[in-house]
């Protein structure tokens, strides 16, 4: 049995990390999209309404990760996680949960911003392909956000499905399980940064390529899908290691 204040402390620090880290990347990403839209408006003032709409849709998609982190942050603050029976397991799990969704949103926040920004530039270059570009942008942003969903999954599991600390356990055993829970959050948090960034950048480049190519968009979209599947693989390794840390060890 530990002081419930320690569990609350952990929840508050975790909430700060979650929302802070997630907002950092989304801020950059949304700015990137607005920059692309402004650049294109200067080139094609007559389609400014379409560009403005694409900018807002792209920014909303780029902020999804931050909103997920905000939800976890609010749960950490007001979810009532101060039952002292949770013990050190709960302290570690809450911290891991905040780190997981906070770091996990960095990749997709910036990645979806890179996709949206390059899409806005591409729309300014070839106004007659706007519908294709917008569709491809949303697909790319969704792919880049899939890794944030892994982080959200681990984050929610750490919040709601970690065991209570059994009574009368030796200190060593408590430290072992608590550290495993914390490491699980750290692993998927860092692990999804790279894939989110990579897939976002890839989807943006593929839209620039669609704008440049006359016909054969399908070929480029195929490469985009293959590329993002391969890019996703390291995030899946991190997810597997997180699950092993949470349930096997």
């Amino acid at each position: 049995m530990i002081d419930p204040g320690i569990i609350k402390m952990s929840a508050y620090v975790a909430a700060g990390i979650a929302v802070g880290a997630a907002s950092l990347a989304t801020g950059i990403g949304s700015g990137y999209i607005a920059g692309g839209a402004v650049e294109s408006m200067e080139r094609q003032p007559q389609i400014n309404e379409r560009l403005f709409r694409a900018m807002l849709i792209g920014q909303a998609a780029s902020q999804t990760g931050a909103i997920l982190a905000l939800v976890i942050g609010l749960l950490l603050l007001f979810g009532g996680f101060d039952n002292p029976a949770g013990g050190w397991y709960r302290v570690a799990a809450l911290m891991g949960s905040g780190i997981s969704i906070g770091l996990g949103s960095i990749g997709s926040g910036y990645g979806a911003g890179a996709t949206g920004g390059q899409t806005c530039v591409a729309m300014g270059r070839v106004p007659d392909k706007n519908a294709t570009l917008l569709g491809n942008m949303l697909i790319g942003q969704a792919l880049s956000q899939s890794v944030t969903i892994y982080a959200l999954l681990i984050s929610l599991m750490l919040l709601y499905s970690t065991p209570l600390q059994p009574e009368g356990l030796a200190t060593g055993a408590i430290v072992l399980k608590s550290v495993a829970l914390l490491a699980s959050g750290i692993c998927i948090g860092f692990g999804s940064i790279g894939s989110g960034l990579g897939i976002g950048e890839l989807a943006g480049k593929s839209n620039m390529a669609i704008a440049k190519i006359g016909k054969g968009e399908m070929g480029i979209m195929r490469v985009m899908f293959i590329g993002s599947a391969v890019t996703q693989s390291t995030a899946i390794y991190a997810l597997i290691v997180s699950f092993l840390l949470m349930f096997v060890l």
């Binding site: 770091l103 990645g111 030796a170 200190t171 060593g172 055993a173 430290v175 072992l176 608590s178 550290v179 495993a180 914390l182 490491a183 699980s184 959050g185 750290i186 692993c187 998927i188 948090g189 860092f190 692990g191 999804s192 940064i193 790279g194 894939s195 989110g196 960034l197 990579g198 950048e201 890839l202 943006g204 480049k205 593929s206 620039m208 390529a209 669609i210 440049k212 190519i213 054969g216 070929g219 480029i220 490469v223 985009m224 293959i226 590329g227 993002s228 391969v230 890019t231 693989s233 390291t234 995030a235 390794y237 991190a238 597997i240 290691v241 997180s242 092993l244 840390l245 096997v248 060890l249």
Partner: protein, 80 residues
């Protein structure tokens, strides 16, 4: 206090950090490669097969460090 369990706990923390940080590089790198492949196909669509093949080989090489991290993480978790 049982010191061997504390050592084991440190190994688990190391495994999480190892796989987490190790996954960043390949993720960014592979995405960058595929983006450049899209640019290349836009410039010369007739070489799409060659470009895709080279992209996959490059991504496999870039993936290798992610696999090193996975191996080390698994070793830290199960055999330290």
């Amino acid at each position: 206090m049982d010191m061997s369990l504390i050592v084991k706990a440190a190994a688990l923390l190391g495994a999480g950090i190892c796989m987490g940080l190790g996954a960043i590089g390949p993720g960014v790198g592979e995405g960058f490669v595929a983006g450049k492949a899209c640019e290349g196909i836009a410039r010369s669509p007739e070489h799409a097969g060659l470009i895709t093949r080279t992209m996959l080989v490059g991504q496999a090489v870039s993936e290798s460090t992610g696999i090193y991290s996975l191996v080390i993480a698994l070793l830290l978790m199960f055999s330290v």
